[in-house]
């Protein structure tokens, strides 16, 4: 951890201005930033503390949907009555993320910006080779320990998994990231690694996430987040699925379906092929299981992470079938 200057932003505009300085990084809950600074991954020259900004932690629910301020805490959002009833998948994704202590500290804006858990990325002194950290240096993970690495959306440059839970639910329900004047669809906000794995988000220096908004839909109302992992709590997903279903009046035929995957891809992964295959179909276990296999179309494993290709469709199927049971 090297010396940095600390700046407390008095307004969002001041934060933007400060964040545009070279080497500046915003500080929200600090649960990612401090951790990465300790690992020697984050080496900010200026830390811009935004936790004292007012008005950025509100949660507003109206007939268009939910708008959640960037500084709202994970635990507050998870426990919010309107989120729980209108967007159960969002609440469940948050509850199953990290630990109670972290959720009480961490903010929604910071959550979207969390970095991969690739162990090579997190240990610069032992593994200088990492395209995400040092573009062009190579990838230490390929050929190494890959149990937690991605099977979808990978490139030759990087196979790191996007680790978060919340964004998986957000991408399923077409949420938007508010960057002051501009808004970006969550699906576009997260970037595939391609040849530039160092670029993870469509955010420019000087931009600050101010809020996220999630359209209120029947599918979001009947939704769930299923997270599978060896440890019952406080572990990133081996595979997870955010699913929302809207049925026709018969209560069995699928009118709208949203499916997104976590823990298996380089970004929050919308599984549109599964959605399309099941829309208009009657929800039947075998049909759902078959369609769920489409979730891992094009998946590529690196040995130890092969199980994710088997696991992910089963998680998707279970989540969809669970939504059927509550019909």
């Amino acid at each position: 951890m090297r010396d940095f200057s600390y700046l407390r932003a008095g307004s969002v505009d001041a934060a933007r201005e400060a964040a545009a300085l070279p080497g500046a990084m915003l500080l929200a809950g600090g649960t990612t930033l401090v951790d990465l600074a300790k690992c020697g991954v984050a080496e900010p020259e200026t830390v811009v503390d935004i936790t004292h900004l007012t008005g950025l932690d509100t949660i507003v629910i109206d007939d268009r949907g939910a708008t959640i301020g960037a500084l709202a805490r994970m635990s507050t959002v998870a426990d919010h009555a309107g989120i729980k009833s209108g967007f159960p998948a969002v609440s469940e994704a948050l509850w199953q993320a990290a630990s109670a202590q972290l959720r009480n500290m961490a903010t929604i804006g910071g959550n979207l910006m969390q970095r991969t858990r690739c162990p090579y990325f997190r240990d610069p002194s032992n593994f200088p080779v990492c395209n995400k950290r040092s573009p062009g240096s190579g990838c230490s993970a390929i050929g190494g320990v890959t149990r937690s690495h991605a099977v979808l959306g990978t490139s030759e440059a990087c196979i790191a998994t996007y680790p978060g839970d919340l964004a998986v639910a957000l991408v399923a329900f077409d949420a938007k990231v508010h960057l002051g004047d501009r808004q970006a669809a969550v699906d576009d906000f997260f970037l595939l690694p391609g040849a530039t794995p160092e670029r993870e988000h469509a955010i420019q220096p000087g931009e600050v996430i101010t809020a996220i908004s999630i359209p209120g839909t029947p599918a979001a109302r009947r939704s769930t987040y299923l997270k599978v992992r060896d440890r019952q709590s406080y572990e990133f997903a081996a595979a997870s699925a955010a699913v929302g279903v809207e049925f026709e009046a018969d209560g069995r035929t699928i009118r709208d379906l949203r499916v997104a995957l976590g823990g298996v891809a380089t970004k929050p992964w919308r599984a549109r092929a599964v959605e399309e295959a099941l829309k208009g179909k009657v929800l039947e276990p075998e049909v759902v299981r078959q369609a769920s296999l489409l979730a891992v179309e094009g998946a590529v494993d690196h040995g130890a992470n092969h199980y994710k290709i088997q696991l992910a469709p089963r998680v998707v199927a279970r989540a969809i079938l669970k939504m059927g049971e509550t019909a």
């Binding site: 951890m1 090297r2 010396d3 020697g40 858990r117 162990p119 090579y120 240990d123 002194s125 032992n126 050929g143 190494g144 320990v145 149990r147 599978v228 992992r229 060896d230 440890r231 019952q232 709590s233 406080y234 572990e235 081996a238 092969h306 199980y307 088997q310 696991l311 089963r314 998680v315 199927a317 279970r318």
Partner: protein, 773 residues
């Protein structure tokens, strides 16, 4: 996690503890809550590196990034020029130290000891250290130390083709009968390999120390499971008398075997303090706790069981291998449970160690017995299915009525009682025998059983007991409390013997200036120290009563009594005639400030040398099969798992364990320790594994987000049942071991339950989802 109920059944044997009904919380056997609990919960308890010292400096380690080779050069210029830096230590400028005696008491070779390495034998080895005015400055400068290496080929783990078969450890060989022949001709034969990975102690409080010199006197604040042993090491490193080193460790945030020795980083901090003439703090980081000392060695075992068709074992052939480091020796005794659990006419166990490029492995809760039980207790389960006999029944059919190896009677072995009590509480008789025959929706349900054991390790201890002017009692001992309850049970012991309430007893522990104690490890401390305190407190009481009877100024002088009784801090005659005065009043009337007695359990003819050896090495420890008996603690675990048939995830949903630790000095604390062991066993079975990048020989999950230990959510109701009875051959007050026992047998019980649930036998720990999917 919820609290279990504590069961006793009417008509049981007397246990000498609270389950007998009559024991007060204050007495030995009572359920007194941890006396150190409030200080820990409120933060008043100060741990080693929390000491605030004038002029404190901060050291940060620089570690090797290769697993094998040689340091070509170290460029310290940038680090030395960095702000606040006081000293950059390298193998070139560090003060030479002497090699110290090891824990076994082996006299050291006359060679210098250098805690910083030029020859690299594992990734994460200490190569240099930076000391600065602030921690942050030291961290920043440490990143500027540039090390150039000549890299060599590393042997990364047991499965490395370069590793070979290893070195036979003849001392581990145990054989009787004609094991191989009998196995070959047995009607039923099973033979399988069982593997356990590197596992880590992962204590809540990471390691670290503050070292301070005053002239040639060294004070070290460091969490320690053995203050006298560690003080000796520091003294010998620096060539100063043992008495010149004071090691202070009143509180320890978990040890699990990892805090019994002074390690290289301790030498680094103490050397730096000497070179700088200022106190030095060195806090080992969480990632460094995976390489600054060793966890449990990875192990492999082959267990061959030959049996007749009724499941009666005719032969056991066991071969074990554990990894050790390139330049250190660690033997994880893999045949330890194999050789005592079941009766067999023919037996052979042999073990090799294989050198790999790792830090020398170390002790982790029940070293040896733990992986050993995973082998034999999985194998007998496999045999049960092979011959179609209930897994509990097959264990009873092969019950060892005496120690099959030592051929001596057990001092006490309540294992049959443990099986019976556990099975009844668990409802084992309702088990459907076929694998995959019990389910709840997507969850396959399995029930498994396994037994465990741990030898009773014995040694000698020493304590000082003072009866103070105010009537309170003070006990001093250099033994320690790492959460297992030493403060509490010693207070109970002194309170009961002297006859005062436990709240009037002050226990002082964890300081090498106090009366001495050996290592807190191998579950020996409670038995050793309750004995020593009992003796010292009895001597103090004798003095007190002697004074009361004979001192002319005593109010009892005229009574001419032979003896007096002390209860609740008050002295009276046994028949109640004559005066009744408080201890304080008596001491005042006879004009005494305090009464002091030292007691130890060493043989009467022990020399000063014997005593030193006993407290600073384990050379004097008594074998558990010494004399006429074989002494062990025993347990039986009954475990239910739920395995998701699609996901392969295993959740432990129920645990009932019945345990025989002899007499319990404090059932509440013993139950906590058993449960702690069971919880660790659940983590070991399902989660824990040091993952090595085989290209670099480096552990990549060296933090608590990626090295998974069980969380509360992973732990169901745990019911523990005490089936022990006082064992006079094991300790002065009748207890056997508690701390290590609980974990032994948990992993095989879970693996056996997983087989019952799924029909899949997992012989490699941990049982992660991809092994079942």
């Amino acid at each position: 996690m919820t609290v279990h109920e504590f069961r006793t059944r009417p008509g049981d044997a007397k246990r000498g503890d609270a389950s007998d009904g009559a024991v007060l919380a204050d007495q030995v056997g009572g359920r007194l809550s941890r006396v150190d609990g409030p200080a820990k919960i409120t933060g008043a308890a100060k741990y080693a590196v929390e000491q605030r010292l004038e002029g404190l400096t901060h050291a940060v380690l620089v570690e090797s990034t290769i697993a094998a080779g040689r340091v070509r050069s170290i460029d310290t210029a940038a680090a030395e020029a960095s702000a606040g830096v006081l000293l950059v230590l390298t193998p070139d400028n560090i003060l030479p130290l002497r090699t110290a005696t090891d824990w076994l008491g082996t006299p050291p070779p006359d060679v210098a000891y250098c805690p910083l390495a030029r020859d690299i034998t594992f990734s994460g080895q200490h190569v240099a250290a930076v000391v600065a005015e602030s921690f942050e400055q030291a961290v920043a400068a440490a990143a500027l130390v540039k090390i150039a290496y000549d890299e060599a080929l590393a042997i990364v783990d047991l499965s490395d083709p370069k590793a070979g078969d290893g070195i036979p450890v003849d001392a581990m060989t145990k054989e009787w009968g004609e094991a191989e022949t009998a196995f070959a001709s047995a009607p039923v034969r099973i033979c399988n390999a069982y593997n356990t990975p590197r596992e880590y102690q992962a204590p809540m409080e990471p390691h670290g120390l503050i070292a301070k010199w005053q002239g040639d006197q060294l004070t070290v604040w460091e969490p320690s499971q053995w203050v006298d042993g560690m003080a000796r090491t520091y003294a010998e490193w620096f060539g100063v008398p043992f008495e010149n080193v004071r090691l202070v460790s009143p509180y320890i945030g978990g040890g699990f075997g990892s805090k019994a020795f002074a390690y290289g980083y301790g030498a680094v901090a103490a050397v730096a303090a000497k070179m700088l003439g200022r106190p030095v703090k060195l806090a080992v980081t969480r990632p460094q706790t995976f390489t600054a000392y060793g966890g449990r060695a990875a192990t492999r075992q082959t267990v061959a069981l030959g049996a007749d068709r009724d499941g009666k074992i005719q032969s056991i052939v066991h071969r074990g291998v554990n990894e050790t480091s390139v330049d250190g020796m660690w033997v994880e005794p893999l045949g330890s449970v194999t050789s005592v659990m079941y009766a067999t006419p023919n037996f052979s166990s042999r073990q090799n160690v294989v050198r790999v490029n790792t830090v020398v492995p170390g002790a982790l809760r029940a070293p040896g017995e733990n992986p050993s039980a995973f082998g034999i207790e999985s194998a007998i389960d496999e045999l049960a299915y092979e011959v179609g006999i209930d897994p509990l029944e097959i264990r009873l059919r092969n019950y060892a009525e005496q120690d099959p190896h030592a051929k001596k009677p057990w001092s006490t072995r309540q294992l049959r009682e443990a099986f019976a009590a556990g099975a009844e509480a668990f409802g084992w008789s309702k088990r459907s025998p076929e694998p995959r025959s019990m389910r709840d929706g997507n969850q396959l349900i399995g029930w498994g059983v396994a037994a465990g054991t741990y030898p009773v390790r014995r040694a000698y201890g020493e304590a000082v007991v003072r009866i103070l002017a105010g009537g309170s009692v003070e006990v001093e001992s250099s033994s320690i409390d790492m959460g297992q309850g030493t403060y509490t049970i010693l207070a109970q012991t002194a309170a009961e013997v002297v006859g005062v309430p436990a709240e009037n007893v002050v226990i002082k522990l964890g300081d090498s200036r106090y009366a001495r104690a050996g290592v807190t490890g191998g579950s020996r401390l409670a038995g050793v120290m309750t004995g020593a305190v009992h003796k010292a407190a009895s001597a103090a009481l004798d003095q007190l009563i002697g004074l009361a009877i004979s001192d002319p100024a005593s109010p009892f002088h005229a009574l001419q009594a032979n003896t007096l009784v002390v209860a609740d801090g008050r002295i009276a005659s046994p028949r109640g005639n004559g005066p009744e005065v408080s201890i304080a009043e008596l001491l005042r009337s006879v004009g005494r400030e305090h009464i002091e007695a030292k007691g130890d359990t060493m043989p009467a003819n022990s020399t000063v040398e014997d005593r030193y050896k006993n407290y600073t090495t384990i050379a004097m420890a008594l074998p558990h099969t010494e004399g006429d008996y074989s002494r062990y603690s025993w347990c039986a675990h009954f475990i239910e798992v739920r395995v998701d048939e699609d996901f392969g995830t295993v959740r432990v949903s129920r645990v009932v364990s019945a345990l025989d630790s002899g007499r319990l000095y404090n059932p509440k604390l013993a139950e906590s320790q058993w449960k702690g062991g069971i919880i660790m066993g659940i983590g070991q079975a399902l989660l824990e594994e040091g993952i090595v990048d085989r290209r670099y020989g480096r552990i990549v999950n060296n933090n608590l987000a990626d090295y998974l230990i069980a969380t509360n959510a992973d732990i169901p109701d745990i019911e523990v049942i005490s089936v022990g009875i006082p064992d006079p051959h094991s300790s002065v007050l009748g207890g056997k071991g508690v701390g290590e026992l609980g974990i032994v047998g948990v992993a095989p019980a879970i693996a056996n339950a997983v087989f019952h649930a799924t029909g899949k036998r997992v012989r490699d720990l941990p049982i992660t989802l991809e092994k079942l999917i």
